[in-house]
Amino acid sequence: MKSLSEKKLFEIISDVLRSGVVLFMVISLFSFLFKNSHFHQYLLNLALIILILTPVMRILILAVGFYKLGDKRYSFYSSVILILLFLGLFIKK
């Protein structure tokens, strides 16, 4: 991880974002093979969770990545966003 450069960090971010969308599409479309069973809804929910958490994952990686790059300010900003997202989990209808 010592050799992490900003370019490399942004490449990782790109890969994470791309993978999130691809995984969502593969799992959600695959779920339609089990249309009339509970497994369909289970897979669909899994796909949705992966997609919804994709931007969260990129913030997590940026928080760690900026810290490793010595950019503490943006690592802190990313961490603040993560905390805000976590607090959002406690909001109910």
């Binding site: 969308v21 919804i52 994709t54 969260v56 913030i59 959002g88």
Partner: protein, 282 residues
Amino acid sequence: MVELTILNIVLIIVFGIFIGILGSSMGVGGGAFIVPFFVLVFSIPIKYAIAVSLVSIIATSSAVASVNVERGLTNVRLGIFLEMSMAIGSIVSTFVMMKTNSSIIQLLFSFMLLPVALTMFLKAKKTKKTEHKEISLNLNKDNKNLSTFFDPSLGRNVVYAPKKLKTAFFFSFFGGVMSGLFGLGGGIVQVPVMNILCGVPIKAATATSNFMIGLSASASAIILFKNGYILGDIATFLIVGVVIGSIIGMKFLYKAKGSTIQLFFSFLLMFLSLKMIWSVFK
């Protein structure tokens, strides 16, 4: 809620392609079309339509940002800074949206489409002027915020330094509100704030906005998913179309000098707004 016949699936995918092209090439417009589409065509309650819109915004943002971050078009640091206030706006407004009567949300949404349409109309008129001005902005080499990206349509590097960041931080909160309350993503606020206020070139502003709206949509979608508002079946087929459309749209964004198509869409949005208002009082 909606019967997924073959015809409906095809209709949703084709509509998704249209939204993907629109969202990725202009940075705004995705949610503004998705919500009226599901409310008016499929009679889905607006809160569920907003939830579907947000999920598709995450997909568009992620697909487009994955390319723009690699190309250096996205200003990641600026995006993260503004995302802090945007996330607060998203979370607070999602809570308000869940607590508010659907008819009120639909009415507010319809009125919100009018300034969105107007912004799109004005942006279409100003695009050319801005592109010529932006190259000479803030070229003080001592500026710590100096950023650069290669613009193939100009055949050169564009150097800029975002300014008035504190004011932009304040306005980004309202970008988040657009996301949580109306499922609009917030690009309609972020792109003008970054372009006009911060002096970020329009292409970098659009790319950075696309990067940011994924997170604000995610902040809202987490809450809506937990509370059972997301229709997974519909979202899946919409996103298939959106991702295909985004890939087409990204090529358009990277090469295009400007767009007059926005004029057409601004009039279409005005029409949708009136139709939504009409459906509330019908």
